[in-house]
C-alpha cells in the first residue's frame, strides 16, 4: 500500500496555484490578441468547413448529421438555439460574438468558430 498523506500540505497549495496559473496564462494567450471585431462565422463538421457566414447578417440554418443543430446568427452574435443531441452543451454555451470564441457540439462533431479579420492563431508581443 502506498502511503499518501490525507491532510492537506503546503505543496498542495502550490499545485492549485500552478493549475490556476496555467489556466490564466492559457486564457491570456488565447483570448487577448483576438479582441477585435469578428467578421465571419465558420461552421465545421468532422473538421471540414461547411459554411462561412458573415456575423452581421441575421440568418438561421439547420445542420444535420447524427443529430440536428439549429444555428442562429442574430444582432452580431451566433448561437446554437436548438439541438437534438444529448446534453445540449452547445445550446447552453449561449450566444458568442468575439473572435476566437467557438461553440462546439461533440456528439454531432460540429464546431462553430468566430474568425477575426486577421486570421492568426496567436500574436505574441
Amino acid at each position: 500500500m502506498r502511503t499518501l498523506a490525507t491532510k492537506p500540505r503546503g505543496w498542495d497549495a502550490a499545485v492549485a496555484a500552478a493549475i490556476l496559473l496555467l489556466a490564466g496564462a492559457l486564457a491570456l494567450l488565447l483570448f487577448l490578441p483576438r479582441a477585435s471585431a469578428p467578421v465571419s462565422v465558420q461552421i465545421y463538421q468532422n473538421g471540414a468547413l461547411l459554411y462561412e457566414l458573415p456575423l452581421n447578417v441575421d440568418t438561421e440554418l439547420v445542420i444535420g448529421g447524427d443529430y440536428e443543430n439549429t444555428v442562429t446568427i442574430h444582432d452580431g452574435t451566433v448561437a446554437v438555439t436548438h439541438a437534438t443531441c444529448p446534453g445540449e452543451d452547445c445550446v447552453h454555451t449561449g450566444p458568442q460574438s468575439r473572435a476566437g470564441r467557438s461553440i462546439v457540439c461533440l456528439p454531432n462533431r460540429i464546431e462553430i468558430r468566430l474568425v477575426g479579420e486577421a486570421d492568426v492563431d496567436i500574436v505574441v508581443h
Binding site: I19, L20, G100, P107, R109, E111
Partner: protein, 174 residues
C-alpha cells in the same frame, strides 16, 4: 494476484461505474455549460485503487470502467474521451503520489487537471481542430476545485481503509 486483490478490483470497478452513473444525475453542466464538465467522482476510485492496490490494478479498473461505461451509455466517443483523460490522469497521479510533499489533495488536483487536458486532446483529435483548446482554461480552474473535492473524499476512503485494516486479524493484507 491474490483472490482478495481480484475481488477488490471487481468491487472498485462496480463502484466506479455506479459513481459515473450517479454523476449524470448531478446537473453540474447546467451550472457550467461546457462540454466535459463533471465532478469526476470516479477519480475517488482511481486514486484509492492507486494507493491501496497499486498502479496496474488502478489501470485495469480504469480500462474496465471506460469500456463498460460506454457500453451502458451507448456512446463510443465518450469511451475515447474517458480513456484519454483517464490514462493521462492515472499516469500523472502514479508519478505524483510518489512525492512525499503532496497529500491526496495535491495528487487528486493533478489528476483532475490532467484529465481535462487529456479530454481536450482527444476532442482536438476527434474534431480535427486546435481551437477547442479555448475551453481548457476554464476546465482547468474547475478541475482544481473538483480535484480538491474528490481528494478530500479519497482522503476519507484511505483513512477508513486504514482503520479497517487495523481491525482485521490478518492485518488487512491483500
Amino acid at each position: 494476484m491474490t483472490v482478495k486483490k481480484l475481488t477488490l478490483t471487481a468491487i472498485l470497478t462496480a463502484l466506479a461505474l455506479a459513481l459515473g452513473l450517479l454523476e449524470r444525475f448531478l446537473p453540474i453542466s447546467l451550472l457550467i455549460p461546457l462540454p466535459g464538465v463533471k465532478l469526476g467522482l470516479s477519480n475517488i476510485v482511481t486514486l484509492s485503487a492507486l494507493c491501496v492496490l497499486g498502479t496496474p490494478y488502478a489501470a485495469a479498473i480504469l480500462l474496465l470502467r471506460a469500456v463498460l461505461g460506454s457500453v451502458f451509455s451507448g456512446s463510443v466517443t465518450s469511451l475515447l474521451y474517458s480513456l484519454a483523460g483517464g490514462a493521462l490522469a492515472l499516469t500523472a497521479m502514479a508519478i505524483a503520489s510518489r512525492s512525499k510533499r503532496l497529500s491526496v489533495y495535491g495528487v487528486s488536483m493533478i489528476g483532475a487537471a490532467m484529465h481535462s487536458i487529456g479530454q481536450i486532446l482527444a476532442a482536438m483529435a476527434v474534431i480535427g481542430s486546435v481551437s477547442i483548446v479555448s475551453y481548457l482554461p476554464l476546465l482547468l480552474v474547475i478541475s482544481a476545485v473538483t480535484g480538491a473535492l474528490t481528494g478530500a473524499a479519497t482522503g476519507g476512503v484511505l483513512v477508513g481503509w486504514d482503520a479497517y485494516r487495523k481491525r482485521m486479524p490478518s492485518g488487512g493484507s491483500l
